[in-house]
């Protein structure tokens, strides 16, 4: 990764970038001989398309509540970026299906979770509807803390290069990770704008954090069972996760937990995690972003 001087970039203009990925020939285990690590990261593709489409809907609903012109523009830039992320991961899902790994039972549940359980609730009074929008923004802010953490990890994960991971998939993870780092403050700033209360922020993390971890574990188990090339031979375990993380193919579980706890500190702000300079520098050279910029 380009070596850059870490520095907080303030007041960045956010705009979606078009990207082009070519998935033809992507091996099912895109980290060679590492089905466990591959599928642990693949859970992203299961969760993100539906999850990020939900972010887009929540933020569109929150837009009329925003009283600051600059924050409004940041929210719109965020929405466009998330919409592109969702489609980029969707393409990988389509590719998995073509390779005989059918992700649909899991995706069906995730769609139910985001569209039905966390979706818009009819028959609520205007005041309750407004509170529900803010509550969901608090969930998004908590999840965005993790996506920024993961994005920062993806940008600084030489273990994946050492393991010979597929370059197009690495570019997807790092392009997405870099945009997550780039826009990491937006959801939090929106939450504080709508409700600066500490209780709301903590609730978003205490409900959203464990659910996210549980869905992840469930997703790994599901993918390993659904992988037609494995015949159920690879069993997930925390020990296996620990070993793979030690070799740099997954984020360190202890650091991940610590990061979740940092979100609860009263003086927390997302700018304290990751480097905008490193993220923007990656984006300026990302093959997928360069390919789309040249293609049109």
């Amino acid at each position: 990764m380009p070596r850059t001087v870490p520095e907080v970039h303030t007041d960045l203009v956010l705009e979606p970038r078009d990207v082009h990925f070519d998935w033809t020939g992507l091996p099912l285990h895109w980290i060679p001989d590492e089905p466990f690590a591959t599928h642990t990261i693949n859970v992203l593709h299961l969760l993100l398309p539906e999850g990020e489409r939900w972010f887009v809907e929540v933020f569109k609903e929150a837009l009329p509540l925003v009283r600051d012109e600059q924050l409004r523009e940041e929210v719109l830039g965020f929405v466009g970026q998330e919409a592109i992320h969702a489609e980029a991961h969707q393409q990988v899902l389509d590719h998995l299906l073509a390779q005989g790994l059918d992700p649909r039972p899991y995706v069906r549940q995730i769609a139910w979770l985001f569209q039905r359980v966390l979706g818009p609730k009819p028959r609520l009074t205007a005041r309750r509807r407004r509170e529900n929008v803010i509550e969901r923004v608090a969930f998004v802010a908590a999840i965005e803390h993790f996506t920024a953490f993961l994005g920062n990890w993806a940008l600084n994960s030489p273990g994946l290069d050492r393991a010979g991971a597929d370059p197009t998939m690495l570019d997807l993870l790092r392009w997405h990770g870099a945009e997550e780092v780039e826009h990491r403050s937006v959801a939090f700033d929106l939450l504080v704008h709508l409700d600066p209360g500490y209780l709301r922020r903590v609730r978003g993390m205490l409900l959203g954090g464990p659910l996210l971890v549980h869905l992840w574990v469930r997703g790994v188990r599901f993918l390993l069972a659904a992988d037609p090339s494995l015949d159920g031979r690879v069993q997930p375990s925390w020990k296996a996760a620990w070993h793979v993380a030690r070799r740099g193919m997954l984020p360190d579980p202890v650091q991940s937990l610590r990061s979740g706890i940092r979100y609860l500190k009263p003086g927390y702000h997302p700018t304290q995690e990751g480097s905008s300079a490193q993220a923007l520098s990656y984006l300026a050279g990302s093959p997928a972003a360069r390919a789309a910029a040249g293609a049109h």
């Binding site: 001087v5 970039h9 303030t10 069906r108 979770l113 569209q115 609520l124 309750r128 409700d195």
Partner: protein
Amino acid sequence: MTPRAKKPAAPRTRATDPAPALAFGRDARHDLENPPPDLYGRPQADRLMAFLTRFGDAYSPAMGAPLLRRSPRRPESRGRAPLTLVVTAHRPVAEEVVELHLADPAGAPLPAWQPGAHLRLTLPSGRQRHYSLCGDPADRFGYRIAVRRITGGGGGSVEIHDELHLGARLTARRPRNGFAFCGEAQVLLVAGGIGITPLLPMAREAQRRGLDWHLVHAGRSRASMPFTEELTALAATGVPPAGGGGRVTLLAGGVPTGAELLARAVAGGAVYCCGPAPMLAAVQEALDALDGPPASGRQAPRRRPTALHFERFGAAPIADGRPFTLQLGPGGRTLPVPADRSALDVLREADPDQPYSCHQGFCGTCKVQLLAGTPEHRDRRLTAEERAAGALLPCVSRAAEGETLVLEVEPR
């Protein structure tokens, strides 16, 4: 003003073909009445999903109760107020280029900024224009911008040149940055004409950090290029570059090729480019040549690609637009869309909460539902199925002359 001309980054072909259909994706209709089945096909309801559904159904109506609402004692958040600035200097710095110094009327410190940031000024006539800040970010008491006169443009630069005098007051938004400087170890700054403005603070920052930097400034004549003395003085202060030669190259007269502009680029380093659209396109092309062909198939790229930073300006100019009409709901308000404006611009005037994002027809944020009328799809996002179901992206898509597109209006 040249670098902020509304031109796309690269020559753009109009993509009117629908996007390929997805096996299952955003246009899939998931069953939202019956809870999803067990993950592994066992004949039982999924316990986690059942639990989450019950939890959600109790949680949402509970919102608004004490502890589950925004504290009513807190005042509502407000937007940050715009800045009021006064012109403290107005002087020519090159042919057809004036430099403006702006300060707080009471001499208070101004919001901080970083190299690459711009200011959106509202001129006394009401015109709004973006200008890159070209002063020193360490100076917290003044902003500096430089403006080239563009005769026959929108009139903003002419107003600044001829009508804005010392002591005039302007409003501005706080500086924003769409061209952040990332401080890579090897930096090439490429400026075309007045495009030097955002790069000048970057050069200063690169010098301060002791980076290996070089700046190429191209212009039609030496007399038309501002800040050459300032640049030369800056380059003379620090350590000379390792490879010999100076840090600043001035290319006056003629239109340099991409290869000439990138003569000092280091593969794997970073290029920051600000100038007219054809120049940026030339640099993009030359950079692809420098990096070699993209990795084909599943081979790892030979080396890190060179980073190309440039400022994106959203909407491309409307090609071949004809006037048509939008109608908000059957029998609703009609809004004329002129040939030179997008349907989105017109919609946003009617509804400031209309979402949008990319302005280029690829992100889908502004999607609206068509009830009647024949559209001319110009996006590259919607699938044939979505188009057939009436989806439309008003940021780029239009209709034939005189056509009326009736849109669904959501009750808010």
